[in-house]
Symmetry: C2
């Protein structure tokens, strides 16, 4: 990315969105992301644009519900991919520290270089924040049933044995495979129509840094889990978009 | 992009979309695109997903209208950026040949390297297709009023003097500046809510390779321009999306 692209004017109406984009671009330059990560980020931007680039009420409710289930869990884990680490690595370390649970790095296009860059980045942030969060994923010793190749690799004391998993920006196959293992899967995804969104136990339709920031505020309140109708939450997000695009051009 | 990412299974339900994505990734690897091009492509993918990844009826009407106006124009030009060239360079050369008009390369983040790669790519395709389409943009000698820096650079015998311009995937500022010059601006944009879409004389809400392929069929029929209500076309696209997302989750 050249210098011209790095200049973002604070007065720009989409300044926050452009700063979030810059984090992804910077992480790409550091070797933390596959090329497809940029495209995935763009897809998210489009849905966020349709949502108004803010946390809608149903998403805040879903964030509270997910926080409650993480607090209640016997063995929670945060499963992070490259984009989640690039966008909110620091916030997720804080959440893992609040919950006293590990983070497991799990990336779709696994290469030793990319895993090394992501592990190094989280360890650097751990030190910077004065935290001691356990970072898993580097030495997988178990498999998620039904997933071929490196995507199925996980750690026994992390994802494999967890009862409740937070999966920001998960791919659909992995989400389904984790659900099939009987786990509670808490999804963060800006696309309410994705397979992950549809299959998740609780789906938060919101941008990952906003979710993580909200969750840091909510967890200390120790919220109670409720009967959760995830389809209601997904339709609420779609209805929000629908309202925005109805009768726009007369 | 590693080899694993390049494998696309033809049976995948989104095979066409993944093949289109691969064209962008390949062009990126050849130095034809800014990093932001990947993100822009992802945004487009999200809107295409909401449209059903096909040409909706209102988009086909808009394509016919744009073709009619290009046929009618005294001095038409196709203004192409990196993504448009990566996705449908060959098709746009065919259209320029049908219309006997030039192509002008005009990119947001202009560097000599990227301009060179794009000029070279189009010249290679020109030869491959046995065409002799004039390719402008390499030696700008005029300016679009109201645009600062390299974004305002253009050629007098191309964009500057044209009465009708096809602008696939244009940025909002440039679209507005071209309209302010009194030109007919024919926009191709998957986001019906973008500034370009809203300001265009005729906006085609469709994926750029599908539009170019349709246009090649339509131009020889020499369609007639009509009274065109662009807001109707934009709302039709939004209504199509709205129908798709209403009552999805009961």
């Amino acid at each position: 990315m050249n210098n011209e692209e790095n200049l973002v004017d604070e007065s720009h109406p989409r300044y926050q969105s452009l700063m979030i984009r810059k984090k992804v671009a910077d992480a790409g330059a550091k070797g933390m992301l596959a090329d497809s990560a940029m495209i995935a980020h763009g897809r998210g931007e489009a849905f966020d644009y349709l949502l108004g680039e803010r946390t809608i009420p149903s998403a805040l409710e879903a964030t509270k519900e997910a926080a409650a289930r993480l607090v209640r869990a016997r063995k929670p884990v945060l499963s992070l991919n490259g984009n989640a680490i690039a966008l909110a690595g620091q916030e997720f370390l804080t959440i893992a520290s609040q919950l006293d649970c590990p983070i497991e790095i799990n990336i779709f296009y696994r290469t030793p270089e990319r895993m090394g860059a992501l592990l190094g980045h989280l360890k650097m942030l751990n030190t910077k924040l004065g935290l001691d969060v356990e970072i898993l994923g580097g030495v997988p010793d178990a498999r998620i049933p039904g997933l071929e190749g490196p995507r199925g690799a996980c750690q026994s004391n992390g994802i494999f044995e967890a009862d409740t998993i937070l999966v920001p920006l998960e791919d659909g196959d992995r989400c389904e495979a984790l659900i099939a293992m009987g786990k509670e899967v808490l999804v963060i995804d800006l696309n309410p129509l994705s397979r992950s969104s549809g299959r998740g136990t609780v789906t938060i339709v919101d941008e990952v840094t906003r979710v993580a920031t909200n969750m840091i505020q909510i967890i200390p309140q120790r919220p109670q889990a409720t009967e959760w109708n995830n389809n209601h939450a997904l339709q609420a997000a779609l209805n929000h978009i629908s309202t925005k695009i109805t009768n726009r051009f007369q």
